[in-house]
């Protein structure tokens, strides 16, 4: 079974090739079958593979498959080799499984779009690139997947390229993540240069053997890697691209947020966790970035009017949780939250897509409302997703994963009370903005008429994801619940280390859980009271001058775009204006002129006369002998 590993990324890539070459010649039906089928078979293969892998546990925690050796020259082996362990398998399962559901949903969502087969081509490529990224055993391949994901996000965010705003959003995503990519590329070169290998596992071993804990080199490498991770995962300070990336079709947003792209940063840190563990400083920075991001994004989420932007900020915030967990060494909790988040975030985006679809493209929350009776299924699944996102205790999967993070942030030897407080505040914020969105969307009077109802191919993924968002949490039930269930963390600990908990704090687990439950329920209660129970109080609150100012500030994402505009764009434009004569280009032109001058010089000897050529021959002979004689 493990032999078929290579098929998993190969199928979506093959789908991409067929769709790209076939283009408009393929019927919609054929394009849908190829696009959805390739990912679907990959998902089935992943499932089969997971069974085989679980059978091999715990004796064989990892498999390496060399699929193709490109070349093996002078000790440098470059090729396609895949690495399969619990982490990679979890990622693959989410990418193919959730990816498949999103593809299936897209058949309905994009049914009337002109670029139907182009859309599926890009989506397949996106899934394929992401699979290569998570399965890669060497840095070359990982980087290939990394850049592939970046290129696909550019293509898909700007999918409706006729609107210049979409193109702008796509370019923004591309450029901002590129800042992180550069840092990451530097890190990869540094690793290769210092440790002399491209194989990730070998690198990790050598790093552990050659570098001491807390030395400068692992810190530098870890921070550069973090640079790449925050770019792709939209964390502070490179989070600005993600809300704008909502310009793409909604399934694209679901794919970017749930299964691909933004989780790449999380994956990178988890994959290279040995290097991060060598640098306590870098770990702390990861945790702080995570905590700061989750709060910042939570506040921004409070004031958005566009349903997709609320979800975008919630993604930034939830990934912040994952980074926080990574930073405190709660590897299993981070991975668990990644998985659960993929379920409910895909669900929320797809459900939001169904709403937008139903309202003929309307995305403004204040023009929605009263959809509970019109779209009962969407209402139910959205409720499941929102509850999971808000971590409503006991009945949602989101509770188990988020609670695990909050508890381990509190109890880990790398954690702390301050980080815990931030996480808790974030939980409260999450609950508030989630249910604000939910109530605005489904309660109250109907403001826009419903045009389309979702078909089976849109409803089915929603139902499956809704179930998963509720029940997947039972894979991991805390100790305090009568000993609990630890299936997931046992599984993931074959690849990632267990969290180091402080013994002094372990007894407080139940208290901590009560606090996070209170935060989630409190947020829900507050929103319910302000919006449904006594709307006058809510309206009064929003009319406060301070609230309005804050609202505008948060609506614009804490003014980061404005800040970056001031710090980077203005000076850049200023410099560009000074440089209208284009100094750098002038240098290149000069170089080209120089080349052409040399060309003319060398070409002057090409007279076409045989005697000139013979003279050249003789001069060469004389020069060589002169060299020999006088040396």
């Amino acid at each position: 079974m493990i032999q078929l590993l290579w098929l998993i990324p190969a199928l979506p890539l093959a789908g991409f090739v067929i769709l790209a070459l076939g283009g408009a010649r393929l019927s919609r039906r054929a394009a849908a079958w190829i696009g959805v089928g390739s990912v679907g078979i990959s998902a089935l293969l992943t499932l089969a593979l997971a069974v085989a892998f679980l059978r091999g546990l715990p004796a064989i925690p990892a498999h390496i498959r060399q699929v193709w050796t490109w070349f093996d020259v002078a000790g440098l082996n470059i090729g396609v080799s895949f690495y399969l362990d619990a982490l990679a398998l979890t990622m693959m399962a989410v990418i193919t499984g959730v990816g498949f559901l999103i593809h299936l949903y897209s058949v309905g969502y994009m049914a009337h779009d002109d670029g139907f087969s182009r859309f599926f081509a890009y989506m397949n490529l996106f899934v394929g690139a992401m699979l290569i990224l998570v399965m890669a055993d060497n840095l070359m391949l990982l980087y290939l997947g990394w850049e592939g994901v970046g290129a696909c996000s550019y293509l898909l965010i700007g999918f409706w390229y006729r609107d210049p705003a979409n193109g702008y959003a796509a370019r923004k995503a591309f450029v901002v993540t590129r800042v992180g990519d550069t840092a990451m590329a530097v890190a990869l070169f540094l690793l290769f240069d210092r440790l002399g290998s491209l194989q990730i596992q070998e690198l990790m071993q050598r790093a552990g053997a050659q570098w001491g804990v807390g030395t400068i080199l692992p810190t530098v490498v870890a921070l550069l890697l973090l640079g790449g991770a925050v770019g792709k995962s939209a964390q502070l300070p490179l989070q600005t691209w993600l809300p704008d990336a909502m310009a793409g079709p909604t399934p694209v947003s679901a794919l970017i947020h749930a299964a691909t792209m933004v989780t790449a940063g999380f994956y990178l840190i988890a994959r290279t966790h040995l290097i991060f563990e060598l640098s306590p400083l870098a770990m702390s920075i990861v945790a702080i970035v995570g905590a700061a991001t989750l709060l910042l994004a939570g506040f921004s989420g409070l004031c958005q009017t566009d349903i997709k932007r609320v979800l975008a900020y919630s993604t930034v915030s939830q990934i912040g949780y994952m980074f926080l967990a990574l930073g405190v060494g709660a590897w299993a909790a981070a991975t668990f939250h990644f998985m659960i988040h993929a379920f409910f975030k895909a669900l929320l985006f797809l459900a939001a897509g169904a709403v937008i679809h139903a309202l003929s493209g309307e995305q403004d929350l204040f023009k929605m409302g009263g959809l509970r009776r019109e779209l009962p299924l969407v209402y139910l699944v959205f409720l499941a997703g929102a509850a999971s996102l808000s971590a409503i205790p006991l009945v949602t999967a989101g509770f188990y994963s988020k609670d695990m993070i909050i508890w381990e942030v509190f109890a880990s030897n790398r954690g702390g009370t301050l980080l815990w407080a931030a996480a808790l505040a974030g939980a409260l914020l999450t609950s508030i903005y989630t249910f604000r969105m939910f109530f605005l969307c489904f309660e109250g009077p109907l403001r826009t008429p419903v045009a389309h109802k979702p078909g089976w191919n849109m409803s089915l993924p929603l139902a499956v994801l809704a179930v998963l968002s509720l029940v997947a949490g039972f894979l991991e039930i805390p100790h305090s619940f009568g000993g609990g269930v630890q299936i997931f963390s046992h599984f993931i600990q074959s690849a990632l280390p267990a969290t180091q908990l402080l013994p002094a704090r372990e007894s407080n687990e139940i208290l901590c859980q009560l606090a996070s439950a209170a935060a989630a329920l409190g947020g829900l209660g507050l929103v319910w009271w302000l919006m449904l129970r006594s709307p006058q109080a809510g309206a009064a609150l929003t009319r406060q001058p301070l609230a309005m100012k804050l609202s505008r500030f948060w609506l614009n994402g804490w003014g980061f775009d404005w800040l970056y505009g001031l710090l980077f764009e203005r000076p850049y434009i200023f410099l560009a204006q000074i440089n209208r004569a284009d100094i750098v280009d002038g240098c290149f032109t000069l170089l080209a002129r120089f080349g052409l001058a040399l060309n003319a010089l060398a070409g002057a000897a090409q007279t076409g006369r045989v005697r000139t050529y013979a003279a050249g021959l003789t001069v060469g002979a004389a020069a060589i002998i002169a060299w020999v004689v006088w040396l």
Binding site: G603, Q606, G608, R609, V610, R611, A614
Partner: protein, 102 residues
């Protein structure tokens, strides 16, 4: 038999060789260029004979023989080319053969 230093034999060869080089570089007439090439090749053959004589081996003379054969083959193709060229251009000026350049 002579008892001259072998370097003198080689110097004679070098002098003849360079006269051949001058001929190739200076003359515009293709026939003279071919003559210059013959002078060069003959000089190289002479050098081989001198070197063979130094070591008392027949190898030098054998190389001379090969050079002789090569000179004959090359001259026959060369003169055939010259005939064809003259037939076409009605001139032996090698500088006219400069259409291809640049």
């Amino acid at each position: 038999m002579v008892t001259i230093p072998f370097s003198h034999g080689l110097l004679l060869a070098a002098a003849l060789f360079l006269l051949g080089v001058i001929c190739v570089l200076t003359r515009r007439n293709i026939i003279f260029m071919l003559l210059g090439l013959e002078i060069m090749l003959n000089a190289a053959g002479l050098a081989f004979v001198v070197a063979g004589a130094r070591w008392g081996q027949p190898d030098g003379q054998i190389m001379f023989l090969i050079v002789l054969a090569m000179a004959a083959a090359e001259v026959s193709v060369g003169l055939a080319l010259v005939l064809e060229w003259y037939h076409r251009m009605h001139s032996l000026d090698v500088d006219q053969a400069s259409r291809l350049r640049g």
